[in-house]
């Protein structure tokens, strides 16, 4: 048995690390879908919408690149019966959504539709 596989072993019958990992994956996909829907605005509201598309894609990418680290942290947490909560990740994701919403409201209210 290789070392990485051992590091992913845990005794939680509730499969918490795996379910949490999948929850983050679904969030990544929701972020990508949001980016795709923002793309629809590009021809109507101009280049500014690029910040929305880019922001959502960067957020999705950031979640995706840190997935493995969080999964192993959860496995260690289960094995050691204690884990520090992911404060920075949750704060960052919530902040991204808030920023995207603010940019979206700005776009609807202040950027005129282009012919």
């Amino acid at each position: 048995m290789s070392a990485p596989r051992d590091a992913a072993r845990h005794g939680d019958s509730g499969l918490q690390p795996e379910r949490t990992d999948l929850a983050w994956s679904r969030t990544t996909m929701a972020m990508v879908v949001a980016a795709a829907v923002f793309l629809r605005w590009l021809p109507h509201h101009g280049w500014f919408v690029g910040t929305l598309v880019g922001g959502a894609v960067i957020a999705a990418l950031a979640i995706n690149l840190t997935q493995k680290r969080r999964f192993h942290k959860a496995v260690r947490g289960i094995n050691q019966e204690a884990m520090p909560p992911n404060t920075r990740a949750t704060a960052a994701v919530a902040a991204s959504v808030v920023i995207l919403a603010v940019l979206g409201i700005y776009t609807v209210l202040f950027l005129p539709l282009q012919p």
Partner: protein, 133 residues
Amino acid sequence: MAEDSNSGEPDARNRFTSRILRGGTEPDPRFTLANERTFLAWIRTSLALLAGGVAVEAFMADLLGPELRKTIAVLLLVLALVIGGGSFFRWLNVERAMRSKTPLPLPLIAPVLAIGGALVAAIMVVFVIARPA
């Protein structure tokens, strides 16, 4: 990854965590993970509202007048903003309650979502009924 995950000290908390989650003891990691998944479910709800707001503005140009379209889009986007921002504080309050072993707080964002969603739906119903056939 050579470290043995079955023994040793729990991971250290980073500075941000120590600052916003003072006192109490680390709860069962299963509860921490459950709280995280619930937070993510709220975030996805917020993202759905965000995409919904954009879709109303982008795809309903032939159906809705500019004012109504703008109103519904902004309503959905504001709802996304409140749910997205609120979900972090919900997560934090639950984490704090679990650390101090006090009863979990009620989700304030749940009635906000219910009322906001109902409002948007009501506006659409009125629009559909009032629209000339």
